[in-house]
């Protein structure tokens, strides 16, 4: 080695920008280059032993034992980290230390390490949270990991229920572990705060004094002694799920990477909470769905049972056939009507039923199927099971779920038909009777006509020729002979009167009623005048009340009044001062009319015979008459819906009272 070279060589370590040091076997620094000194000073240190790694004694022992070689050590000097290449030099009993600064590399390594750890942490959080079943469990797992990974004293979550004014808090304290706070109401300022938080994304509180009463209520989640707090909103899908609080007891700000991690963790937490909520809702829906399916099924079963009950309770038979004519359904009533069991009915195919073909039910069914219209028939059927019934059948074709069906409704109308038949028979009998009545009427009319026409003619002959004999052959007849002829004439004339009265009576029954106002007073005056004219020698005083106006048939009432007045006239003929009164009085709601005379009267014992035809209470020679007059009067009043009665005493006059009657004939 040159002597010139020694200083040159010696200048290498001196010039080296990296620290170079030599330490003797006792651990004493025997050389430190200027760079080593400068770094030492830069780190605020003075003792160069700071460069020595922790196991320097062991390394020097190996030097002392004569070991050669190089060992590598990392040594931190203040904030700087050096990779030291320690060369063992047993020849000089020293170790030479060549330092290369790896501060930046170490930092990057550390950061990478931390990132990895946090990523692992996040993955753990995510996985744990995914496996969690409830938001509380998610929060617990998430908070526990966060406290560890974000290096804080406590992590807490304030869960906000959407649509609710309350919140719930869970927290994990590094020393005290997990705890939950009771649900509490949020105040207006809390909502304002949450809104600000949502907008800003994060709020960092420093230099906190928890005694400060101005703090919002929800910050009570912070642990005692908290000085620094990081507040992060838990937002997923635009929805605020809650707030994450990371707190520290020292006034130490959160490092940027910790904050980043916290933000990311908050996102995961929010997502997990959101999912949990979705899951909860889904489960809720699912259970709700399950419940409503069960409810719907029960309702359907109820409805089916209800319908079945209606079917069974219906008084009509209901049957359903498929497109092949096979019976699909029938109710008990249908079975009862045809006299079968339900099983027998359900086994039937109407294409094979003789009873249908015989009763033309089959034709009606085919018609309904062919035209797809409702067919209704009343049919007499002898069923397959031997019942003989009348059925009201209604064939209704319909489609259900694309399948053709034929609905048949049957009603047993046998009773109805029997009644109808009875009514018809009755009607026929009535009609026959009406025809017979009509015939009888016609016969009566013919008879009346004959009576009026043919019976009078011979009477006229009797009377006429007797008269001719009396006038033309008077000289050839003695007194006795003339008397006989007179008797013949009287007989003929009396028979003529009888015929007339009989005709009047028969006309009362036959003639058509024409109701109109009738002035009985005027009628009575007219009849009285006629009577007085016919027999002027009979002095009778008529007292006729005015305004005897009634509603009735003028002709018939005239006939009745004539008969009554003629009677009064006739039976008062013996009186010197005969008095005949016609008037009315009120009896209850009825107006009663009367014809009263002061004539011979009659014995009330026979009053019931008075109004029957041909009944007479007086001798013919005494009071001639046919005995038909009062019967006619009674009939006339009956046709008006009225009635007549009499009051009399022998030799003390008679009074006939009558009511005209209402609307009835």
């Amino acid at each position: 080695m040159d002597s010139d070279q020694a200083p040159r060589l010696a200048s290498f370590p001196e010039m080296n920008p990296n620290p170079v040091l030599e330490v003797d076997i006792n651990g004493k620094i025997i050389y430190a280059n200027p760079a080593a000194t400068a770094f030492l000073e830069g780190a605020g240190l003075s003792d160069p032993t700071a460069y020595l790694p922790g196991d320097i004694v062991e390394i020097l022992r190996r030097v002392a034992q004569g070991e050669r070689g190089v060992v590598l050590r990392e040594v931190a000097l203040g904030e700087r980290v050096f990779l030291e290449s320690i060369s063992l030099n047993p020849y000089y009993q020293t170790a030479r230390i060549y330092c290369a600064e790896i501060t930046q590399r170490k930092k990057a390594e550390l950061q990478l390490q931390q990132s990895l750890e946090r990523l692992r942490g996040l993955r753990m959080i995510s996985r744990a949270m995914l496996e969690a079943r409830s938001p509380a469990e998610i929060v617990r797992i998430g908070l526990e990991h966060l406290v560890n990974l974000a290096q804080c004293q406590q992590a807490a979550v304030l869960l906000v229920q959407s649509g609710s004014l309350t919140a719930q808090a869970h927290r994990y304290h590094a020393q005290q572990g997990f705890s939950s706070l009771a649900e509490f109401a949020l105040q207006t300022e809390d909502f304002e705060h949450l809104q600000v938080l949502s907008q800003d994304g994060m709020i960092l509180h420093e230099n906190i004094h928890l005694q400060d009463e101005t703090l919002a209520a929800h910050w009570m989640v912070w642990a005692e002694g908290t000085q620094t707090a990081l507040e992060l909103p838990l937002i997923a899908h635009g929805e605020l799920m809650g707030v994450l609080h990371l707190t520290k007891s020292e006034a130490d700000p959160f490092p940027a990477d910790a904050m980043e991690f916290a933000v990311e963790a908050a996102d995961h937490l929010a997502a997990a909470l959101y999912n949990a909520r979705l899951l909860e809702q889904a489960q809720h829906y699912a259970s709700g769905l399950e419940h409503s399916v069960a409810e719907r099924t029960r309702q359907l079963q109820d409805a089916l049972a209800f319908r079945q009950a209606i079917l069974e309770a219906a008084a009509i038979g209901i049957l359903v056939y498929d497109q092949d004519g096979q019976c699909l359904m029938a109710n008990q009533t249908a079975a009862n009507i045809v006299g079968a069991s339900l099983e027998q009915l359900l086994a039937q195919n109407y294409h094979q039923l003789d009873s249908w073909k015989r009763s033309s039910m089959y034709a009606a069914a085919l018609e309904a199927v062919r035209t797809f219209t409702i067919q209704e028939r009343d049919l007499h059927v002898i069923t397959t099971f031997g019942r003989d019934v009348w059925l009201r059948c209604r064939f209704s074709p319909f489609d259900s779920n694309g399948q053709f069906h034929l609905l048949l409704i049957i009603e047993d109308i046998t009773g109805q038909m029997q009644k109808q038949a009875e009514i018809e028979a009755l009607n026929q009998r009535l009609q026959a009777q009406a025809v017979r009545l009509e015939q009888a009427n016609q016969e009566l009319e013919a008879f009346s006509y004959s009576v009026s026409h043919d019976l009078r003619a011979p009477l006229r002959s009797l009377d006429g020729f007797s008269q001719a004999l009396l006038t033309r052959y008077a000289d050839q007849l003695d007194e006795q002979g003339r008397h006989y002829l007179e008797r013949i004439r009287v007989g003929a004339q009396r028979m003529g009167e009888l015929i007339n009265d009989l005709l009047d009576l028969s006309r009362v029954g036959r003639s058509e009623m024409r109701r109109q106002p009738v002035d009985l007073s005027a009628l009575a005056r007219q009849i009285a005048t006629e009577l007085q004219a016919s027999e002027p020698q009979h002095e009778a005083v008529f007292e006729i009340q005015d305004d005897l106006i009634v509603e009735g048939d003028a002709h018939l009432l005239g006939l009745a009044l004539t008969n009554l007045l003629e009677n009064a006239w006739k039976f008062s003929r013996s009186r010197r001062s005969a008095s005949i009164k016609i008037g009315k009085y009120q009896q209850g709601k009825e107006t009663v009319f009367f014809v009263q005379d002061n004539g011979v009267g009659f014995d009330m014992t026979y009053v019931n015979k008075l109004f029957s035809p041909f009944q007479r209470l007086h001798g013919m020679h005494e009071f001639p008459g046919t005995g038909i007059g009062l019967a006619t009067v009674k009939r006339i009043l009956q046709r008006h819906g009225g009635r007549i009665w009499a009051e009399a005493k022998p030799d003390q006059g008679a009074a006939f009272h009558f009511v005209i009657g209402g609307e009835n004939e």
């Binding site: 009026s452 026409h453 043919d454 003619a457 006229r460 002959s461 020729f465 008269q467 003529g496």
Partner: protein, 164 residues
């Protein structure tokens, strides 16, 4: 009754007062009517037809009367309703339907007093409706009054006018 007396009566009618035509199938009534007419001292000849067909044949100169032609119009026809072959109402209808006989006074003289008969008679153009009373005195009185009224009081249109 044979047609003999009728034809004789008819032959005797010429140039005499107008006849009365009595349409009556009942011989008793015929005789009584004739008796009553005679008693009322009317000079008019009386022609009797015994049923509706007979009456129309006589008036229109047809049937058994075909050879002698249409009869001079009677002053009045006394018409019974109940007649064999053609009823009184039918006769009335035919009379009123034919211009030759449409104006001849017709008195329905019948035993019936049915409202229907009265109405139907007037509807078909009867001039009067008289019921034959059973009592002969009244019957005779009615016939007498009829004769007086229709033969003496009543004015008829000229024979030519009615014959058209």
């Amino acid at each position: 009754m044979s047609k003999e007396p009728l034809q004789q009566n008819h032959a005797a009618l010429v140039k005499r007062p107008r006849a009365i035509l009595l349409v009556e199938d009942n011989p008793d009534d015929e005789e009584l009517t004739l008796m009553a007419l005679k008693d009322s001292r009317l000079l008019n000849p009386i022609v009797v037809a015994h049923d509706g067909v007979d009456a129309l044949d006589y008036l229109f100169g047809q049937g058994v009367y075909a050879t002698q032609g249409a009869a001079p119009l009677p002053a009045v026809i006394l018409l019974d309703l109940k007649l064999p072959r053609l009823s009184g109402l039918e006769v009335l209808e035919r009379l009123r339907a034919d211009p030759r006989t449409a104006l001849i006074p017709v008195v329905v003289l019948t035993s019936s007093s049915e409202e229907e008969d009265i109405l139907n008679s007037y509807r078909r153009g009867a001039n009067s409706f008289v019921r034959k009373p059973v009592i002969f005195d009244r019957f005779a009185d009615a016939v007498r009054q009829l004769g007086l009224y229709w033969l003496l009081l009543n004015e008829l249109p000229m024979d030519d006018a009615t014959r058209g």
